[in-house]
């Protein structure tokens, strides 16, 4: 009995050992590649290969980088795909605090740049960039990587001007008119919900603070401000309250859904036509084709409804820059790569086709975006319209504690959407203001009230 058992165990052990050695031999090749940057502080060979790591979550980025690597045999970039948004930032900040483990290059969402700069995570690459880089971007976009200073903390990659997406077939079926003002939007929402009680023109998502920030941006809000060397918090401005009260009313009346976006239920709504519209941004075709592939050709894109008839402004939701971290040993080479990635025509074409990004570079918007995205092949002027819209983005300043404000949004508006009351929406704005301001003061920032 004992012999029998120990034989079996020996077999299991042997099998595991085999598996383990198979894995480690697979990993060792990689280990060699990774060893280069740490040993590279004192290059023995002038033609030594520079190794750069790049944290990003944009899909298809390794294919874009493959082109760079083929053309630059001495500067090799390795893509490490990360969880999108907040998790990657948290991980980067931990690595910065620990003193090692951060990549050379990092995808940084615009709203996170002040946080990262405050934590001393991003290198100032103004000295490593060509003088022509700035001219490639709109002033508003460039401001978000400089934070209004002389330093440059990254090169803008993509942007997310907001638009209104709607199901053209359902609009036609019920004879609805595409809203151009928010008043009309409310009317259409009411009319649609009356004609089909299961259908909604949209949803107020308590899970997407960036979306709400973009809507208030359109209304003229700017949640943070810089005054000399002091920060200010202006979340409960008249503009934010106007937006909150508008949506609070619609949710209270029950003509707009109160479920968060990006949930299975919401995806189901996109598929079965009960979500008839989506206030989103330029990258929406990618999400729609991923989550509701069968609705291809049924959607159309229009300008965001306006607060005053005749206005032409929008907000921004999403988009990011590519930054160099303070732990990089080769900031000048990293900056060279970042410039190529975000300003060259070659990379722009790849970013559009492989990663589905809307380039922030004005030149790339003209050259790389000619045909409409496949999902919107029915709307031939898609990118012509998009480029008009992208010029109308209102300015907006992000502060160093965006994460606090955003989680306050999730909490406060999570309750408000459940309560379905307009007053709760207004209270949620006040809660956000108090929480964000209090945190900024407690963190030791110079705060002006």
């Amino acid at each position: 009995m004992r012999l029998h058992t120990s034989l079996k165990v020996a077999a299991v052990v042997a099998a595991t050992a085999l598996l383990a050695s198979a894995c480690s031999s697979g990993g060792s090749g990689d280990g060699d590649g990774k060893a280069a940057p740490s040993g590279g502080a004192t290059p023995t060979d002038p033609a030594q290969k520079i190794e750069l790591t790049y944290w990003t979550w944009a899909p298809g980025m390794d294919e874009v980088v493959k082109t760079w690597n083929a053309e630059h045999p001495n500067i090799h970039v390795t893509v490490n795909k990360q969880d999108g948004g907040d998790p990657a930032v948290t991980k980067l900040l931990t690595a910065i605090k620990a003193g090692s483990g951060a990549p050379d290059i990092m995808q940084a969402e615009y709203q996170k740049i002040p946080t990262l700069v405050a934590a001393d995570a991003l290198a100032d690459i103004s000295g490593d960039l060509g003088s022509d880089v700035k001219g490639d971007f709109s002033d508003g976009t460039w401001q978000s990587v400089t934070l209004g200073s002389d330093a440059v903390y990254g090169v803008p990659q993509d942007s997310g001007p907001m638009e209104f997406y709607y199901r053209a077939d359902i609009f036609e079926k019920y004879g609805l008119k595409v809203p151009t003002t928010w008043d009309e939007y409310a009317q259409v929402a009411t009319e649609l919900h009356k004609k089909d009680p299961t259908a909604y023109l949209g949803t107020f998502s308590s899970g997407d603070a960036g979306w709400f920030a973009g809507l208030t941006q359109q209304a003229g809000a700017s949640w943070w401000g810089v005054d000399g060397d002091a920060w200010s918090v202006d979340i409960d401005s008249a503009a934010t309250q106007k937006v909150a009260s508008f949506w609070g009313k619609l949710v209270e009346d029950g003509v707009i859904d109160n479920k968060p976006m990006y949930t299975p239920a919401w995806n189901k709504g996109l598929n079965d036509g009960t979500q008839v519209g989506w206030i989103s941004a330029i990258w929406a075709p990618g999400v729609l084709s991923g989550n509701a592939a069968d609705t291809q050709g049924k959607w159309k894109m229009a300008k965001l409804p306006q607060w005053n008839a005749g206005d032409d402004v929008t907000g921004n939701w999403g988009g990011s820059a590519t930054a160099v971290t303070t732990q990089s040993k080769y900031p000048q080479y990293a900056a060279e790569f970042v410039t190529w990635l975000n300003t060259s025509a070659e990379a722009a074409k790849l970013l559009v086709s492989k990663s589905g990004l809307y380039p922030a570079s004005l030149e790339s918007q003209k050259t790389a975006l000619t045909d409409p995205p496949e999902f919107f092949s029915n709307q031939t002027d898609f990118y012509t319209l998009a480029s008009q819209i992208s010029k109308t983005v209102n300015p907006f300043t992000y502060g160093p504690n965006v994460d606090v404000a955003y989680s306050a949004y999730n909490d406060a508006f999570g309750k408000a959407t459940k309560a379905k009351s307009q007053q709760a929406f207004l209270d949620a704005v006040t809660t956000m203001q108090t929480t964000t301001l209090g945190d900024l003061k407690n963190s030791g920032y110079n705060v002006k009230e």
């Binding site: 004992r2 058992t5 280990g31 989550n291």
Partner: protein
């Protein structure tokens, strides 16, 4: 778990259901009630698995539109899609997970067996202090330790390597605790003394006598640790930046969290989840027989 293994000697033959019937209790209402409770429990545990199985056969659009538990025909194409993702990165994650869980589990068993045996069979100064410290360690969830471990490994430059996940997995306070309890119960002092009288060295006694006697307990420790590492998310998530080193848990989470501007890869994640439990199920089915074998009983009674 210990109680199951220790009580096993009562039925040296393989049948577990036999003693219940042999005890001659009337199989009346109480048996029906028990069966019903067990059936509900089984349904509660199996329903999510059934869901994963059904959902992984659906195409992306069916996932949100067709009936939840209705199967479809896209399992194979889902698996091919997942395998094609970034040149088969998923399978690399699978191998990584096997490496972390397999090697980590074995090393953990070795350390636990040695520590548990030492604590159970030797008298030395500070023994109870050491044991109490380990007991306290059982109460500290591993998640809490992930950040300090990261900072420590960052100091020696070992984050973002296989070691970053393997090293912290080796010490398992619960495994040591279990091994100590099991060694105390399964390894008789008489046998050890007899071996010493015959002139065996301590190392030989441990590996040739104690380890075989402790085997069922060690298999338990291995399974626990294997499953714990297999399912661990927080530690590799914090430690690793290179996605080629990711285990399944972290890799699949990345497919879901693509950021608001990109569609989440639901079907790939669900198919990946299904494939990731297959090795676990296989491992349990092959190793569970060790729980029914009790070598300690043979050592003394035979």
């Amino acid at each position: 778990m210990t109680t199951t293994t220790v009580s096993a000697p009562a039925t040296p033959s393989s049948g577990r259901a036999v003693p219940a019937r042999a005890s001659g209790r009337p199989a009346g209402r109480s048996a029906w009630g028990g069966t019903a409770v067990l059936l509900v429990g089984a349904a509660y545990c199996l329903l999510p698995v059934v869901w994963v199985l059904m959902a992984s056969t659906k195409s992306a659009s069916e996932l949100f539109s067709s009936f939840t538990l209705a199967p479809s025909t896209h399992l194979w194409s889902n698996i091919t899609d997942l395998s094609a993702y970034r040149d088969g990165l998923f399978w690399r994650w699978m191998l990584n997970t096997a490496l972390y869980a397999g090697v980590g589990g074995l090393l953990s068993v070795l350390v636990s067996a040695m520590a548990g045996y030492g604590l159970a069979k030797f008298a030395f100064r500070g023994k109870s202090t050491v044991f109490n410290a380990i007991l306290a360690g059982v109460l500290v969830p591993g998640v809490v330790l992930a950040i300090p471990q990261y900072l420590l490994l960052a100091k020696v430059g070992m984050t973002n390597t296989y070691w970053a996940v393997l090293l912290p997995s080796i010490i398992s306070p619960y495994g040591i605790y279990l091994a100590r309890i099991y060694a105390a119960a399964a390894v008789p002092d008489d046998v050890l003394e007899a071996a010493r009288t015959d002139g065996a060295k301590e190392g030989r006694i441990f590996f040739s006598l104690a380890v075989p006697m402790m085997l069922p307990g060690l298999v338990t420790v291995f399974l626990f640790q294997f499953v714990a590492i297999w399912n661990n998310f927080m530690l590799p998530y914090i430690m690793l930046g290179n996605d080629k080193l990711f285990p399944l848990t972290v890799g699949l989470s990345g497919l879901l969290n693509q950021g608001a501007t990109q569609p989440a890869m639901y079907t790939s994640v669900i198919t990946g989840a299904l494939l990731s439990i297959v090795p676990l199920v296989a491992l349990f089915l092959t190793l569970q027989r060790f729980w029914q074998v009790d070598l300690a009983a043979g050592a003394v009674k035979a």
